[in-house]
Symmetry: C2
Subunit: 305 residues, 2 copies
Amino acid sequence: MSIVIVGSVAYDGVTTPAGKVDRMLGGACTYISLAASYFAPTKIVGVVGDDFAQQDIDFLASRGIGLEGLERVPGKTFFWAGSYSADMNDRETLTTDLNVFADFDPRLPADYRQAPYLVLGNIQPELQQSVRAQMKAPKLVGGDTMNFWINGFRTQLLSTIRQWDFLLINDSEARLLSGESNLKRAADKIRGMGPRMLVIKRGEFGATLFHDGGYFSVPGYLLDKLSDPTGAGDCFAGGFIGYLASQGVSLAGGVSEPRTLARAVVYGSVMGSFCCEQFGVDRFRTLTRDDIEARFAEFHQFTDF
Amino acid sequence: MSIVIVGSVAYDGVTTPAGKVDRMLGGACTYISLAASYFAPTKIVGVVGDDFAQQDIDFLASRGIGLEGLERVPGKTFFWAGSYSADMNDRETLTTDLNVFADFDPRLPADYRQAPYLVLGNIQPELQQSVRAQMKAPKLVGGDTMNFWINGFRTQLLSTIRQWDFLLINDSEARLLSGESNLKRAADKIRGMGPRMLVIKRGEFGATLFHDGGYFSVPGYLLDKLSDPTGAGDCFAGGFIGYLASQGVSLAGGVSEPRTLARAVVYGSVMGSFCCEQFGVDRFRTLTRDDIEARFAEFHQFTDF
């Protein structure tokens, strides 16, 4: 069942201890859709400038991603540049040129509006809400946010996530949003704000999903080589929603099968781990579904007891 | 099969966001032995001053802990005081009065020397080595160390851990000891230094064990209430070695059954999680083996997929 993904399509410049790339395809919407595309039909909504390269269009299309909602306007594509710390757990933003993304006003093509799954990348909460309003009757809606919106746009954010089924944030964002330092209490409080599924992304330490039936935690995958963590959280989101969509999961009928939700978290972790192995989206140029299943099996091996 | 545990027996003063206790029973040897005592016969080697309270002796004895090697000398018992950060992931040491612990020269009673399991708490590497030399033919030997010894006593430490079967340290200590930032490469390098089993303790994020057959990771247990993390790492060590001893594990015959090693890591995590629920050692005044098995089952519930 198909997934609509809304968010930034960008060019990134990234410096990590493993190397430096001045300009490459990036953006939350790009990463989420690439990861999700291995599991279910995926369509994106975004905006790029007239500098957006045909080879990048071709690459997204080669993954079967629907591009009808990718608007092309005069001007430059959103550009972000950042540099990572030695352990790659922190990063400093060096450049944020919003360019054509500054006026992003997402409009869903008519045939997107029937899609059962909607993922809202980390953008202005009011824009996220306007997209939700354009959908007919989705099975599952959710997305991402960040400290900037939690601090400065709290009212809009609360009104937005009230209509969501899932929210993906990190530990510190969960504590900030809830005002609770204890993660279980923070999760209870946030789930009370709307999203019945809350995923806490913990980077190299894994992820935890809180849902109606309890919680599930998976440790992080230990990479042989970490090249570039950019997009790992978005790829987690793509694997998570991708697997849920492939299983036709809905929350309408009550509690979902906890094992299905847990597996979605593991597929999210699998996709996040692959993302880090090469710069930008490069790992997805060669990654196969067999690679994904092999790593999923590895997660069983290193967590079973 | 019995376990000999060597290290500090102390009084602690602890301040956390959950409260403050000026003076209570503490010390690595105390925590390790209390946790291990639920799994196997446990004997300790330590030194205390003439201020050491009879009620603390009685409490350790009530857990069946052998105290023949607990020396009592004129002077004051080791006293440590510290204060934890708001999220309890960091702490500041306020007082370290070594007192009688400054001249600690561990001597094993004759009947300790035949014990099959030996755990060396975080003390001077040369003392750890002298204890190892007093043992006849232990099945498993290992312990803990810290940045202070890694930085300042590297040669002695390397000579000490060359004779160990297991080492328990945290992420940053593993990176410091190995000079590798990638955790898998760090683990390979450290396992090449002697200890074939390396446990990386990651606090609230769980733990990872590297062994001859691969690696195993468990996420952290989410506590309803975190009172005081003091001793959690030592309780992990106690649960880990306690379970291995209860199963008669040895590395002599080649690779141990990975599932047994994995379960030892989970029992370690269980004991660490209980430790944090109350101040100091208080949780062990009421904890039962049934509580432990119930939490072990919970680990299955929140990690199975």
